[in-house]
């Protein structure tokens, strides 16, 4: 180590070890790409052109859609409530052109003239029973899966961290109550609890996120509690307390940052399982409302058309598989990198 250089911190070591793991890094890259795909879904699959030149003026209909949605702009009179494809076919003259996204269909665009088509040059991944483009639905479906994974896990990590931290730090009656509650919650089969609760609630993405969130916190709470029990008697914690730090400050500024590693690992695997839970629920018809494109709901649709329509089954399933595998690979890599026994 060079003079004056700070020693490598814990998270730097973890990150270095993670980057040395090629498979895990690949998983992380796929996850990032999926997030980019979800964020830019409107620019990849849309029935509106990205750029359009009409009567020698340039228009950006996809961006315009965002602006109109936010309320800062309005559609020009000729474009209000029109299908741009029909518009281009009818009104375009010499010199007018439109550049469409790679997939020229919106996820909910119904076309009764092209029902249940296998994959072709027009519909890369085929169409469903009311002519919706599967490629577009798969692209837009990534939004549901990724956001459910992220939000649901954030909810339960937050709940779990707070409960686990208080239980581990204060001990005594707080710990007894928390531990008993954790034990009871762990006894209840999560998937069945979720299904039961969902049966009482109207279908919506938010409800699914919340239900997954409030049913899964015990694992995180247990991990955090364990870490706190280990850490709270260490010298630096005692030092912080001796310097007059409040309980709140000791817990959240001093102990928590050093107890996060196992929680992060659990959270990564948790995202994978939350995505699986959402798609299972949607597959069973208890998940997102039917109008929302989600990988599970495409598969659910495929199930009603069984046993024909293989493209309805194969592609959304592959998307789920790819996402879940990537998250699991990242989780494995993180676990190995954070394992103090392997520290190099």
């Amino acid at each position: 180590m060079k003079r004056g250089q700070r020693p490598e911190g814990y998270w730097q070591i973890v990150s270095r070890q993670f980057r040395n793991n090629r498979v895990a890094t690949a998983g992380l890259i796929v996850v990032l790409l999926l997030f980019i795909l979800a964020a830019s879904a409107d620019f990849i699959a849309n029935d509106k052109p990205l750029v359009m030149s009409y009567r020698s003026e340039l228009y950006f209909p996809v961006l315009k859609d965002y602006a109109a949605w936010v309320g800062v702009s309005r559609w020009e009179a000729p474009f209000q409530n029109v299908s741009f494809k029909d518009f281009a076919a009818m009104n375009f003259k010499e010199g007018d052109w439109a550049q469409f996204p790679p997939v020229r269909y919106s996820p909910n665009e119904v076309s009764l003239t092209s029902v249940l088509r296998p994959p072709s040059a027009q519909h890369f991944l085929g169409t469903d029973d009311i002519g919706r483009d599967i490629a577009s639905r798969v692209v837009h479906g990534s939004r549901v899966s990724l956001s459910v994974g992220f939000v649901a896990v954030s909810i339960y990590v937050l709940i779990g961290l707070v409960i686990g931290a208080f239980a581990g730090y204060y001990g005594g009656i707080v710990d007894i109550v928390a531990s008993r509650t954790i034990e009871i919650m762990l006894t209840i089969p999560t998937f069945f609890l979720i299904i039961t609760v969902v049966a009482f609630l109207p279908p919506s993405i938010l409800n699914i996120m919340i239900v997954i969130g409030i049913t899964n916190w015990p694992t995180v709470a247990r991990l955090t509690r364990g870490e706190f029990l280990k850490t709270k008697s260490l010298e630096y914690v005692v030092a912080a307390q001796a310097l007059g730090a409040s309980d709140f400050r000791t817990i959240f500024r001093h102990i928590l940052p050093n107890s996060m590693a196992p929680v992060f690992v659990a959270a990564t695997f948790g995202v994978a399982s939350a995505i699986l839970i959402e798609s299972s629920l949607s597959f069973l018809g208890f998940g997102v409302p039917p109008s929302k494109p989600s990988w599970g709901s495409i598969l659910s649709n495929a199930r009603q058309l069984l046993p024909s329509g293989w493209w309805l089954t194969v592609f959304p399933g592959l998307a789920i598989f790819l996402t879940v595998t990537s998250y699991n690979l990242v989780g494995e890599g993180l676990r190995d990198a954070a394992d103090p026994r392997l520290k190099a």
Partner: protein, 336 residues
């Protein structure tokens, strides 16, 4: 030993109380009372006001929704203890009868699946652990990792598309557990028919458990093989076979035994998708129907039952520990 297990059983009582409380909360804290929800459904379906009013009264009476909360909870508790789950809202049959019909089907299905999972995963785990980083080990590791992330509803749907006689092959039957006219056949033909019906559902139920178990088996075995007593066994000249199967295997079975606790409730929860897709009349498809038709008394019964099975699984796992590993003695821990 016996005193430990008695204590262990007694400790289950507060947990059971907690579970009953959670299930009670689910019924009451969800927006809209179940009686009204039921009313909404029925009005949409039939528009029959009289019937709807009757259902409200029935549901109210069943849960005692007109009573104060603590009375309601005590009633719910009494019904749980006596396994009196009431009648199904859908066909007014006692729920206990429905469960009695469905449980054996699921138990048989999951039993076979568990048996296969353990029978296949233990040898795979041993083989991978005794030849770590060999080509065989790497291939199985990757394959098992893949299986681990495959959603079973996808695999089941794919199996039906490709093997169940759609646009592709028609290899396996995909409906129920026996052919409709099988009752007239001789027994060997009936047996063959039943086995043929089981192939796809069992495969879909088994592969995930198989992947999980093999991974645990491999890790457990690798850790054991590194230990001193294995080196000692080798040093005194024992054959590799005896070292692995006599000395290492027994010790590495412990983590696998723990998983029993998770697998028992899967008797119900794990097969919801598979049973529904293959139209198998077990607990899984019963749960699906209960949710789908909003049959709340049935739902709460299944919920309580599965929580109870989890508790039982944990208890059995503790019991099996002592069989697999004689070092674990519970008197000490119980006394402490």
């Amino acid at each position: 030993m016996r005193s430990y297990f008695v204590k262990r059983l007694l400790l289950m009582i507060p947990t059971l109380l907690g579970i009953s409380l959670v299930s009670f909360l689910i019924i009451h804290l969800t927006p809209g009372d179940p009686a009204l929800l039921k009313l909404g459904d029925t009005e949409q379906r039939s528009g029959n006001q009289l019937l709807a009013a009757q259902i409200i009264d029935e549901t109210r009476a069943l849960y005692g929704l007109d009573q104060p909360l603590h009375v309601q909870y005590l009633r719910w508790l009494r019904r749980l203890v006596t396994f009196d789950f009431g009648e199904s809202l859908r066909d007014h049959r006692p729920i206990i009868d429905k469960l009695r019909e469905r449980i054996p089907v699921s138990v048989r299905l999951s039993g076979i699946s568990l048996l296969f999972a353990y029978l296949i995963s233990i040898p795979i785990g041993i083989r991978s652990a005794t030849h770590p980083h060999s080509i065989g080990d790497r291939i199985t590791t990757v394959l098992l990792f893949g299986l681990y992330s495959l959603p079973n509803f996808w695999i089941a749907t794919m199996a039906i598309v490709y093997l169940g006689g759609g646009d592709f092959w028609r290899v396996f039957p995909v409906y129920g557990l026996a052919s409709p006219n099988a009752a007239a056949w001789p027994w060997w033909q009936r047996l063959e028919d039943q086995l043929w019906h089981l192939v796809l559902p069992i495969t879909c139920l088994t592969y995930y458990t198989l992947a999980v178990l093999s991974r645990y088996m491999r890790v457990g075995m690798i850790e054991i093989i590194r230990q001193d007593f294995i080196r000692t066994a080798r040093a005194k000249g024992l054959g590799e076979r005896i070292v692995v199967y006599r000395h290492a295997l027994r010790n590495s079975l412990i983590p696998i035994v723990t998983l029993m606790a998770d697998l028992l409730p899967a008797l119900i929860g794990g097969s919801i998708v598979v049973e529904t897709l293959f139209s198998i009349p077990g607990m899984g498809s019963l749960s699906y129907e209960a949710v789908y038709t909003r049959d709340y008394p049935l739902l709460m019964a299944i919920f309580t039952l599965s929580a109870f099975l989890t508790l039982l699984g944990i208890f059995l796992a503790d019991l099996l520990y002592t069989l697999v590993d004689p070092r674990i003695r519970y008197e000490k821990r119980a006394a402490a």
